[in-house]
Symmetry: C2
Subunit: 320 residues, 2 copies
DNA sequence: TTGTACGCGTTATCAC
DNA sequence: GTGATAACGCGTACAA
């Protein structure tokens, strides 16, 4: 592998001339042509580490993701990646398997790797997150969760719940069941639920509420237990698509005579379309959120002033 | 951010002593204790780029993946990541959106980034792939596809098809339909199909074969067209879980009277479990394959001799 | 326009 | 056990 000195020697010029050729371009036409050819022939590439070492800048972005095989995460990363490509950043991925410790480690790791910025898809922002984020002097943007003191891109979860509530009321569903999740997750546990309640209230409907888990298997267990005792509702809402899918699984295996329960989820996961009959969902624009987040992060890296909090709207996809 | 010189100055020793403390550890007990404390207090971290610059080694692995929201890809990456963590590599991700050009670019990009090794999940290995891989002097391992001249970790696709064929025969299914994909994909297009045919032949069954796409929507279209003309089979096999899910979608929406068609897919995608009734699948151990691939890659980086071709076995998960 | 010399932070070599 | 020094590859004042 050739370095800048080799190229300089071959061209019969000095290192700095080659360097200038590569950066400013301020060289004579003659040497330019010579270098054009030589660099082509030897397909020379500047060593990025030497560059980083000198520039104190790596052109790398670290993304911390809670899990891999998740529609929301994958879509978001897709968006982040798109903008990284545009802006000429490399994307470093760190997956934490829903483990908070690993999440904190990942922040430290990226700090050591001297990434220019970090995209964090956390499930929860603890005090310790805050401490580390403040310690490391690296721009961080949260996507999918909200926090007063941090920059974040969030989905309009309250509104998502609200439109579902309204739509159900409008469609004359009276008897509504909601399977929610822990309130330690603000976005999903609180906002979606309150939105739904508010939307339904406009039609004087009060939903029956149960608690379950993000995990499909656990949700299926809870749903089974709950619906076995009280099997009929006009509509059943799951706080996530996974939960809605669990509901679908239970009802389609226990109500052969299709007493037509209306099922709704949140997220826009394509699997809601694959099951039969399809279930309704609120489409979240994860990929777009990823793009927005990465653009914001770039602004932060460039030291530009930006808003601390950006909200992405959702789209209702009802199967009437 | 402090560097090794700062630490040395604070401790009243030389840079080399600090460096030795960090690496060999060959320092006196006294200075060791002093440095323990000082490094702790200043939470000093060696600059990885300076290290890389010197060591000609980055401790980075590049993974090239065709798409994000895919069970197979995600599981494989999970396995790769696990071993990366163990071996102290950082994982750089490059997603190509099924675009061959981007795949080639990604190889070049990683080459420039001086990653120590590359994990390539290609859909197809062309002559141009080969050219670039030979040009860049970076160890590359293919996972999920086979190639004579390259190191690869593959799934036993022929055997997967074979066991399905046998199981169907054993179960007295006579009238078998197979939806396959293009033969330009050796693993899926050829091996699975030939395996199935061989397995069925032992029971003197010859399947009816149609061609379709990896894409769920396209598969659904093809399946619909095909099954509308000839609706009944004892068993229908899809070359991938996606295709099997499309079959499931069609049959459950058009055969209300459950004339019990047996559906089988390949991959072990959990969605086959979520739909109702569940469909059978052949479980592919993607995560394990990822682990194996990354371990192999590490061997290659360490200049150890390894086998060019490793095969991972599959597991049949039949819902009788 | 071009070349010289130095520094980015680290580690390996060699004296002491 | 410790310290001075050179080298990794690059960019940039500064001088020519």
């Amino acid at each position: 592998m050739k370095n800048i000195a080799d190229i300089a020697k071959i061209a019969g010029v000095s290192k700095s001339t080659v360097s200038r050729y590569l950066n400013n371009g301020s060289v004579s036409v003659k040497t330019k042509q010579k270098l054009d050819k030589i660099i082509q022939e030897n397909d020379y590439q500047p060593n990025q580490f030497a560059q980083s070492l000198r520039a104190h800048r790596t052109n790398m972005i670290g993304a911390i993701i809670p899990r891999m095989n998740s529609y929301a995460v994958d879509e978001t990363v897709k968006g982040v990646k798109t903008i990284c490509d545009e802006l000429n950043y490399s994307l470093l991925l760190n997956y934490t398997n829903l483990n908070v410790e690993k999440e904190l480690e990942a922040l430290e790791t990226f700090y050591r790797s001297k990434v220019d910025g970090i995209v964090l898809m956390a499930t929860e922002i603890t005090e310790r997150h805050l401490t580390i984020i403040n310690k490391i002097q690296v721009p961080v943007i949260i996507v999918g969760q909200e926090h007063e003191q941090l920059h974040c891109v969030i989905h309009n979860d309250f509104h998502a719940g609200y439109v579902v509530g309204q739509a159900l009321g409008k469609s004359q569903y009276k008897n509504v069941k909601f399977f929610g999740v822990t309130e330690s997750d603000i976005a999903v546990g609180i906002d979606r639920k309150s939105g739904l309640i508010a939307g339904l209230r406009e039609y004087s409907i009060e939903p029956s509420i149960s608690l379950t888990s993000f995990n499909y298997q656990e949700a299926l267990f809870d749903v089974t237990e709950e619906l076995e005792t009280q099997p009929h509702f006009d509509a059943i809402v799951g706080a996530t698509d996974s939960i809605a899918l669990a509901v679908h699984k239970y009802t389609s295996e226990h109500h052969k005579k299709v007493d037509k329960q209306f099922i709704v989820g949140f997220g826009g996961n394509p699997v809601t379309e694959i099951v039969s009959p399809s279930i309704s969902t609120v489409i979240y624009h994860f990929e777009y959120a990823g793009e927005v987040a990465m653009n914001q992060l770039n602004q932060m890296i460039m030291q530009q002033a930006i808003e601390k909090r950006l909200t992405i709207d959702v789209t209702l996809a009802f199967k009437y």
